[in-house]
């Protein structure tokens, strides 16, 4: 049996942990974002992209987060499906709207960068199409959860859909290698090291960490909300039976 993290197996311990961890991650995100944006706006214009390079500091971390949050959603769904753990299901449910928001941000900011650089708001390129499919998986997951009244059935159906969507993650990541693409290939997470100049790399990494911390904070807050919602529904059910 795969040991679940201690805080995932005990809601009381999770609530105690998240009570201080959520604001702490939020503050870290604020500090990192301030530092990242300061360095980003102090960096010189790119010789090809001009000032549009600054869109990269908000677009690329959003794209990273769209994949990372879906990986969290998939992991939580797996734990929920296999171990029937309510907190894992709450974590999956809480991750979906945040992941959808990050994916939408990646698509919109990418489009705002693409128009001046490529001359098009959108192209049916492998990377962009696979990210759009990722967004649709998030939306479908939330719609499926909302459509089913039975919490257990909704959890099971949502988890299966989320796990099917995990197949799309390597497609998004390697789409630029597998197919001819207008989108540039990986330039930070490469086996031979980043190819981005330090003046752009440092603010990009700081913004990536800021987005990650912000997600950590908001995810914890949303899971807490889910725990309270389920407690409230259990109390309402008990009151109705009494």
């Amino acid at each position: 049996m795969i040991p679940a993290p201690a805080f995932l197996s005990n809601p009381e311990r999770f609530m105690a942990f998240s009570r201080w961890a959520a604001p702490m991650f939020g503050m870290i995100a604020g500090v990192l974002a301030l530092a990242g944006l300061s360095l980003g706006f102090a960096a010189p214009e790119d010789y090809q992209q001009g000032d549009t390079v600054r869109i990269m500091f908000i677009h690329v971390p959003a794209a990273w987060m769209s994949l990372f949050v879906y990986a969290c959603l998939g992991t939580a769904s797996f734990l929920s499906l296999v171990f029937r753990h309510a907190l894992a299901d709450a974590a999956a449910q809480a991750a979906a709207p945040l992941g959808a928001a990050f994916t939408a941000l990646a698509l919109v900011t990418g489009s705002l960068w693409g128009r001046p650089m490529w001359g098009a708001w959108w192209v049916w390129d492998a990377r962009m199409t696979s990210v759009l499919v990722l967004f649709l998986f998030y939306v479908a997951y939330m719609a499926l959860r909302a459509a089913l009244d039975d919490e257990a059935k909704a959890a099971r159906a949502g988890a299966i859909l989320a796990l099917v969507g995990v197949v799309n993650l390597p497609i998004v990541k390697f789409s630029v290698d597998w197919w001819n693409s207008l989108h540039q290939g990986a330039s930070v997470f490469r086996a031979d090291g980043p190819t981005v100049a330090d003046v752009f790399l440092y603010p990009l990494l700081l913004m990536g960490l800021a987005y990650m911390s912000a997600f950590g904070s908001l995810w914890l807050v949303r899971i807490r909300g889910e725990v309270w919602r389920r407690r409230a529904e259990a109390l309402a059910l008990r009151a109705a039976r009494a």
Partner: protein, 71 residues
């Protein structure tokens, strides 16, 4: 390594600033909805818990009053 902050995005300001504005709006939305969701259900849980405790107390039989033993 870095000079002064450069907020002049011309001639791409029409693309750069909307990208930042939309990002700020989406983050504000994520923060607001997450906090509102958590606060709403926390308050609802507290109300239901208090109601359940009050109902439980009402159902509990009142303790019998025992007469003090004669001196």
């Amino acid at each position: 390594m870095f000079g002064m902050l450069d907020f002049d995005a011309s001639p791409y300001g029409a693309y750069v600033w909307p990208a930042f504005a939309i990002t700020a709006l989406v983050f504000a939305g994520m923060i607001a909805t997450s906090l509102a969701h958590a606060r709403r259900w926390r308050a609802r849980t507290e109300i239901l818990r208090q109601t359940a405790e009050a109902a439980e107390a009402a159902r509990r039989p009142a303790p019998e009053i025992q007469e003090a033993p004669a001196p």
